[in-house]
Subunit: 222 residues, 2 copies
DNA sequence: TTATACATAATAATCGATTTTTTAACTGAC
DNA sequence: GTCAGTTAAAAAATCGATTATTATGTATAA
């Protein structure tokens, strides 16, 4: 069932990479903050070499800024960047979703239903911790998975991580969240009906509502 | 004049990164090849730490494949991936060019003309070495620069590097190349006239012709 | 032969220490 | 007091060596 049995073998470097990625996306570092490498080393109990390799990867991925001779910083947040990210999500995820609806087979349909179901269970618990976040990412990944473009999927993944830096700034807003949760199931419905047009429209709306949430977070954050 | 006076300060890590990026894009490594880190270390005269940091960045960027406990490999080439990359270029560069034409100011117009002029001088010399490649990249970067989206530019840059792994597989084909060279000037023309529609159509054609070249290279490569 | 277990060589990953560079603190002249 | 120059402390980058893992070779048994 587990499609990527890759990380059975892990290295210190790959583990700390994944940990730091989660923590950066989850907002456990302040935007603009300069990372004290030695402090990180102690905090995460890793050696300097694997830590630096992870930081280099995160910088290439866009979750850190690297400046020669002065280490690594957490990227700052800005309204204009949030707009940029949300717009790119609209374009790329819309494109991918339409293609996925065209190409997705019955295995995909089953995976979609499964992903939506797992997410709904987590929705109900109202305890939206890291586990909900994982299921939520997984759901959106599944939605576009059979789009046929490896690079498109890669870019979308990257944009999601960037977007979540804004969305996860503050505490959850239950009322808006509920609408968004309901849309997940409607997205599956339209996908199964192969209604590209309506599906894309709903996804656009979904991303736009998420954007409103993220923007609110960002503005209340200051 | 030089807008990014950033890499005045460089580190061993950033230097070897840039060198390896160029060599990977320029096809100086065989597709699928496993990199012998020690050999690289000797060949490029760098230490292990900066080399590994560069390799990690290149893997995150997509120019290398990293497998835990078994180092780094050059990604293989495939028809389907070339198709994917070319399609994504069509979508993203088209989008970016249209936006650039909407937002670009008179400074952009001047830079466009300058970039096209420099490229033409290199075209004429028929000696299309690394210098031509740099000017060519710079031209295409300028074309889309004022599109307003940092992330879009980032993705396009990445796709260009990936595309060039195919385009630069074999020797130049003068006849096709000449058509492509001429299109560069026509692209500037249409951009200055702010004719989004025609400009995008020509860019589509330009990318498509480049794709044909890259595909030929790839097929003759085997 | 073919397969399996073991030993050996090669390579990747990591550690601990050193070197280099930047940042902060200090000093004295104006 | 402020500013340039100097020194001290901190941090980043790099090196050389060690450890862990994988790949290779060889001998032995089925």
């Amino acid at each position: 069932m587990n499609q990527h049995l890759q990380p059975v073998i892990s290295t210190a470097s790959s583990r700390i990479y994944e940990t730091l990625r989660r923590d950066l996306v989850g907002g456990r570092f302040a935007a603009g903050e300069k990372l004290a490498i030695n402090a990180l080393k102690d905090h995460y109990h890793v050696g300097l070499s694997p830590l630096r390799e992870a930081l280099n990867k995160l910088a290439a991925y866009g979750l850190l800024i690297q400046e020669n001779q002065r280490g690594f910083r957490v990227p700052t947040l800005s309204r204009s960047e949030l707009d940029d990210i949300a717009n790119m999500r609209l374009e790329l995820e819309g494109m991918a979703f339409e293609r996925a609806i065209q190409h997705g087979d019955d295995v995909w349909e089953a995976e979609l239903l499964a992903a939506a179901h797992r997410l709904k269970r987590a929705d109900l618990s109202l305890e939206k911790g890291e586990e909900w976040e994982v299921l939520h990412s997984q759901f959106h990944r599944t939605l576009v998975a059979p789009c046929g473009s490896v690079w498109l999927l890669r870019f979308i993944e990257q944009l999601h991580d960037q977007f979540d830096r804004y969305r996860r700034l503050g505490p959850k807003i239950p009322t808006v969240r509920q609408t968004l949760d309901e849309q997940h199931h409607e997205l599956v419905e339209l996908a199964l009906q192969r209604d590209s047009k309506a599906a894309r429209a709903l996804l656009d709306d979904h991303i736009h509502k998420s954007y409103q949430v993220a923007l609110k977070r960002y503005q209340e954050h200051a």
